[in-house]
Symmetry: C2
Subunit: 159 residues, 2 copies
DNA sequence: CGGTACGTTCAATACAGACTGAACGAATTG
DNA sequence: CAATTCGTTCAGTCTGTATTGAACGTACCG
């Protein structure tokens, strides 16, 4: 039987997997959320039973996606990684960015449809419009959530 | 050099892949969108150069996800598959459902956190709340898009 | 009834990509 | 300056899964 923290970390790994990202990336994020304070790559390798290479690669992937930030610890040789305050907000950014990229790609293709396929072009343009509007809505909602967050209530106290 | 329709179909395959679904599923959806009218499995195998098994499996996957519907053609032995009017709306449903499932799973785990990890439990509950609200938001927005759709303007005329 | 065309299923294969472990450079330490 | 201790990178392996091709059951047809 596993502890709640282990279950949570494993669950986060599964989520990550279903979204096309590596399982370990989700596990690292879950680990950092539970810990609530910066942790080193070495700590990840021990807690998650993964290789140093995987820890480095996936931690950097999370950093690049804005879900994790690296703290250059004072007087510390090792890098510290910590989950950002609201990982969900960055998840929304990522989704919005994906929609926007899709919209761009589809629109670019749509203009090349010949005139005798005007109906098809219309359907493709319709799909592109949906993707673009989706991106915009996600951004707007993220902004709304951002504003709603109580500024004084910082969840990550320890650090 | 490829035609616009081929580029679009390939692009849809790539999108599908990045979202964890089979590439062929996206290609079929793209093909049906471009065609704008029901197509048979045999037509898919020829147009997309795929096996009959793949066509059957992936078409059924799309049907199950609500992105494609099967038309039992009159006096026709073969099944016809056609993309739904607004594939995007069903994409939103799928995303909302995923968020809801995540919220459920995370909440279930959260309650099992021991009291000496109350801070961690709070962070996990916070994540669950975000997922639940995301699901709700997506549903609301889908409903709004649904209402905005012009009823008379049916894109798929031929059939 | 054979014969054909269809959709589904499943074992076998192919393939993409996650993961590892070792090698490397850089920075620190004694 | 040797010896650690980092983080990164990369070739190689391994695992999951997409895809195939053939076999099967069914319905229609002549």
């Amino acid at each position: 039987m596993s502890s709640a923290r282990e279950l949570f970390i494993e669950q986060m790994g599964l989520f990550s997997q279903t979204e096309g990202a590596p399982r370990i990336a989700g596990q690292i994020l879950g680990y950092l959320i539970v810990e609530g304070a910066p942790r080193t790559l070495t700590q990840m390798t021990q807690a998650l039973k993964i290789s140093k290479g995987s820890a480095s690669t996936n931690a950097r992937l999370l950093e690049q996606r804005g879900l994790v930030h690296r703290v250059s610890a004072l007087g510390q040789r090792q890098d510290g990684f910590a989950a950002v305050d609201e990982p969900g907000l960055h998840t929304l950014s990522i989704m919005a960015e994906r929609f926007r990229a899709s919209a761009d790609a589809i629109e670019t293709i749509a203009v090349d449809f010949p005139d005798d396929e005007a109906a098809a072009r219309g359907r493709v343009e319709n799909l592109a419009r949906f993707h673009r509007e989706s991106a915009q809505f996600l951004d707007e909602w993220r902004a709304r959530l951002c504003g709603r967050r109580k500024p004084a209530h910082n969840i990550y106290k320890e650090e």
